[in-house]
Amino acid sequence: MLINELQAMYVMWLRQMKRFLRFKSRIFMTIVQPLFFLFILGSGFRNISFPGMQSENFIYFFAPGIVAMSIMFSSMFTGVSVMWDKEFGFLQEVLVAPISRMSIILGRTLGGATTALIQGLIILSIVIGMGIPIAGPVGLAFTLIFMIFIAFTAVGFGLILASKMRDVQSFPLIMNIVVMPLLLVSSAFFPLKNLPPIATNLALLNPLFYMVDGLRGSMIGTDNMFPPILDLTALIIICIAMLSLGSYFFSKSEA
């Protein structure tokens, strides 16, 4: 029985990998989009120094934000793609197979997180190639751990959306109304120190803040508000909550 479930998880994972690797243009685009941000915003603001910013160049400050953003977006997207499966009927085929919903969810989550991590790693290596200083091997190890948890958290969030949304059309809306504002106050683009104190405090309720702050703390080692280990603890709690909620909602939804 366990073998069946593992096999099923593997299938769900393999399916996502095949779909991901098969369409090179799609990979290209998901990588190009964050690079646009990095190069255009990064070079536009190159000479700007926000008060309180310790990094000597804006692009150093900005790079961890971009890595986090690219993983976040692509994971969320793979989570939401359950919606497409529902729309195109493929989900029924999976639900009628003799495997538990938990394996379906786990397989999908692993698949989504893997594809997002591949993209994140590509961005990360480009960033390193550009000469952005990395805070040593321990920092790099922490960076990878953060990337993994960011991926799983965002897949979980995507699954919640997919189970609760009625149609595919609402996805871009939610991205614009919920995710973009959260991203803006996550310190990905600018330090939060300059916001009114009340907004800074509110940012502590923003899950995206811990992702970006932690990733920055481990990657470049400056300009983070909290020590990475604290961010990581918060992120792990958020991640568990998102994944449990996501799989709970998914198992409740009927095909």
């Binding site: 073998i3 069946n4 393999l14 195109f88 085929e93 009628v96 003799p98 095909a255």
Partner: protein, 330 residues
């Protein structure tokens, strides 16, 4: 042996009863069909039998397992071809089959040989490495049927297997369905709103309308129940003619419709002159008369009072509109 058995199976959605206490059984090895118009409750029944929906009340067993309590055992024993395509279009045909086999825990040697086997059964060997998004509608259907058979199911559920396909492709799919019923000894449960499909494929048919089963029998018994021959006639004073004919012994069944009367008889060709004679005596003018063998459509008509094709047309708002326009212009 009964491979599917339901007892007062019922499904309600917010007060609307989609399936209304139906009880029936399907024997091992047969092709059983649910015939009924759109919205009769066919798909809902399939969804309950395939564990995708929970019944509101009643019970059902498939291959000896309760659909509510032994979901995984039921799932292991069935194959399903849904009404809407359920393929991953970004994978190849072969990959779709391979993934399916893995989810049903078929080991790798068996998997390879079985994929070849089912592909051959539906003539898709040459297209197996193409992406499913490049398949035609008929090819997708065939691939789904092949996939439904991958894991040697005891029962294969087909929900409207030829919906939206052209006449030639439908024929071909019917042949595949017959073939796998014969060669693989798979019991087949299908739903359809096409008379000819039920007639051609099914050993037994259940006529379902508004969530209720009206009758279940073999297709030939159903057709015989309304007479060997059907005479349709239209005339001036239908009421008077019917009153007179109803007293005749050789009339098996007589039914008045809006503008015509249908009469079920034996040896219809000998009865036409008799009917004309009677009509003439009563001074009734016959406008048209014809004789034919009964079809399932006649059976459906006699049980529901409505023709299935008209029912379907009335369902679609545009068709209704179009018909109104046509009548206006006449």
């Amino acid at each position: 042996m009964d491979i599917i058995k339901t007892e007062k199976l019922r499904k309600e959605f917010n007060g609307f009863t989609a399936v209304d206490d139906i009880s029936f059984s399907v024997k091992k090895g047969e092709i059983f069909g649910f015939l009924g118009p759109n919205g009769a409750g066919k798909t809902t029944t399939i969804k309950m039998l395939t564990t995708l929906m929970n019944p509101s009340s009643g019970s059902a067993t498939v291959a000896g397992f309760d659909v509510n309590k032994k979901r995984n055992d039921v799932r292991q024993n069935i194959g399903v071809v849904f009404q809407e395509p359920a393929l991953d279009t970004e994978l190849t045909g072969k990959e779709n089959l391979d993934f399916h086999a893995r989810m049903y825990a078929i080991d790798s040697d068996k998997r390879k040989s079985r994929i070849e086997e089912v592909l051959k059964l539906v003539d898709l060997e040459k297209k197996k490495d193409e992406y499913v998004k490049n398949y035609s509608g008929g090819m997708k259907r065939r691939l789904e049927i092949a996939r439904g058979l991958m894991h040697f199911p005891n029962v294969l559920f087909l929900d409207e297997p030829t919906l939206g396909l052209d006449a030639q492709t439908r024929r071909a799919i019917w042949e595949y369905i017959k073939k796998m019923n014969k060669e693989e000894k798979t019991t087949i449960f299908l739903t359809t709103h096409y008379m000819d499909e039920a007639d051609f494929l099914c050993d037994r048919v259940g006529i379902i309308n508004k969530g209720k089963i009206l009758v279940i029998d073999t297709t030939s018994n159903l057709k015989n129940s309304i007479g060997n021959d059907i005479i349709t006639l239209s005339c001036t004073n239908m009421k008077k003619l019917i009153d007179k004919l109803e007293k005749e012994e050789w009339i098996k069944k007589i039914k008045k419709h809006e503008s015509f009367v249908t009469i079920g008889v034996e040896k219809g060709e000998e009865k036409i002159p008799t009917i004309i004679e009677i009509a003439q005596k009563l001074n009734i003018k016959i406008k048209s008369i014809n004789l034919r063998k009964p079809t399932l459509d006649d059976v459906f008509l006699s049980f529901t009072g409505k023709s299935i094709s008209n029912e379907g047309a009335a369902d679609h708002p545009w068709k209704k509109h179009a018909r109104r326009e046509m009548l206006k212009n006449r």
